[in-house]
Symmetry: C2
Amino acid sequence: MNPLFSDRINDVPRSFIREILKDALAPGTISFAGGLPNRSLFPARALEEATARVFVEQGTDIFQYSQSEGLLALREVIAARYRQRGLSVEAEHILITTGSQQGLDLLGKALVNEGDRVGIEEPGYLGAIQAFSIYRPRFCPIPVDENGMDVSGLEQVLAGGAPKLLYTVPNFQNPSGITYPDDNRRQVAEKLSGRGVVLVEDDPYGDLRFEGQPQTSFGQLLPEQTVMLGSFSKIIVPGFRIGWIVAKGELMHKLLIAKQASDLHTSSFLQQVMLQFLTDHDLDRHVEGICKAYGQQRAHMISAIDRHFPGAVRITRPQGGMFLWAELPAGLSAMRLFEKAVKERVVFVPGDPFYIGKREVPTLRLNYSCVNEELIEVGISRLGQAIGELLG
Amino acid sequence: MNPLFSDRINDVPRSFIREILKDALAPGTISFAGGLPNRSLFPARALEEATARVFVEQGTDIFQYSQSEGLLALREVIAARYRQRGLSVEAEHILITTGSQQGLDLLGKALVNEGDRVGIEEPGYLGAIQAFSIYRPRFCPIPVDENGMDVSGLEQVLAGGAPKLLYTVPNFQNPSGITYPDDNRRQVAEKLSGRGVVLVEDDPYGDLRFEGQPQTSFGQLLPEQTVMLGSFSKIIVPGFRIGWIVAKGELMHKLLIAKQASDLHTSSFLQQVMLQFLTDHDLDRHVEGICKAYGQQRAHMISAIDRHFPGAVRITRPQGGMFLWAELPAGLSAMRLFEKAVKERVVFVPGDPFYIGKREVPTLRLNYSCVNEELIEVGISRLGQAIGELLG
């Protein structure tokens, strides 16, 4: 190990997609591996109009250095959306970030000392593991599945002393697509209440619900201890890199210091364009269009799986978001399946990178947001073929 | 101290401008305190045209997630500018950052373990001290003045063992406006050569030279050990938050991991707009216009100082950049002067925040980029009055 580099940078796990999928795939390979929103649903024309208006109507402030907190009017719009959902959030509780990945980095900066315990979901979002790894915590994985967070797993972690923070994606989780049911959320909140743990509710997919009813936010169940992360990446565009943190009091003050040290502020120009888009357009209506498309793609994928996968494979049936999760019979490795699938010209993400220290797991992530009915049919059929071969 | 927060966040020094200048100033107060580029020189129209072309000519890739390295074509343009100056830089050596403040954060992430020694200029750039503080180094200040970096000060630091990195702003430094002369750079490079220190050459102001000849970059004098930071903030606009790091080999690889963990990537849309602007317009010609304006403002400020300040005040006479530095007679405090100056309706930044652990220093920073001849005349006259009172 080169002594020049920090210990922390050597601890960061690498991205599976960068590391393994960077090799050229055979022409005609169908990918369920990505985690991208569907570009055909980007409101390109509306953003073009919003940008043109910003150039005409705004002064040169949009090009100048600006406040680390972010544009006040944009923070007001975001806060109002929370209040519509019954959450008590004001503009002063919103810090605009350069995507919600930065929210994770700022939380690491403000909260995590080396060796502090950080609770994470298992399986969990790799980007969060990468972001927090920089601050050298001890990760405490807690299993999640269609019943939500495993409460006895949570109790076990708490028995070792309160972790500094607990990271959750309770709506349509990446990678598994699962959503914590309301009663599970209440149990989790009860276990954490008064224990000095910051619960991070990362919610990039929550608006992308195709069916069923929204569940109660931890921001309502555990308001004093919950930090919420939000993002426009999945509901407008990711390329603007605009997200936010909802936090209060001294924690907000510390996050602001961290933001200033990290990049001074998020692009003032892009914040103004986003504000203009939100002012001129009905975001809820735009999101309805995304939900309709993704809901159909999800239905096609589940239908194809039901027809093409061996019956021994279990899958989640998410009510929203971009991913579903499949589990091979015990003892099989999704990484081995991946090797076979590449040859069949279909790819996905094996479960391994979503666990801390587990390898050759039998689970895998399938993305349906970027594939149409035809690709889903052909790709799932190929994958079913590969699974059949693996099962022997 | 609330045990919830990390030790590091409690170590970050606060911004003087945020903390002290946030109080309302009397109407008519003239400010030499800012560090902003002059907004009247922003190429607003050209950026509007570039943005419109991007919307028309580019596909939806501009809104999608993109590579952590940044847009290849933009990295090629930046690398070509270095090659014009005789530096051997290729696109693969460029990592696009969300402003060069983020470059500092990524260097901290990739290099600094808690307790590592980090050499910094004294006086030095507060933003760098803030960014590195997150990684809890031991700062080793080395004096700089019009003769460049104090070589015996550098030797003293090196005698304690090689620091992990040495942070420099060798062209028109913030806060002092000084530039290291070529022979001083050679001496510094010689002392560092082969010692395993990463020299960071942060150069936001280097293009803003009004007179004299460019000095040799550490990238030429010490190519194996130098990391260069660059930014469009002072030569195009800061509100796009686009800067870059020039690094090679394994260090680039580690910085890329740090970038990915921090915010995935810099806005793909803004990178494309910046590329379009650079393709359609002559940046050097635009920069000539900025230099002409700032050069005149600098000349007005020096002329006013020569007429209004007591002779005992020493100033730097920078050949470029946005700042000059004044030194009161020994024993006087610029912080006390600040209190008097506020009453006279003129403000500046006292030297204190640019030093580690020194307080009530006799030095101060004056910004001339955002004030016209008339404001300079009136403001410097008021400040001269306040200095006269302080001298008694």
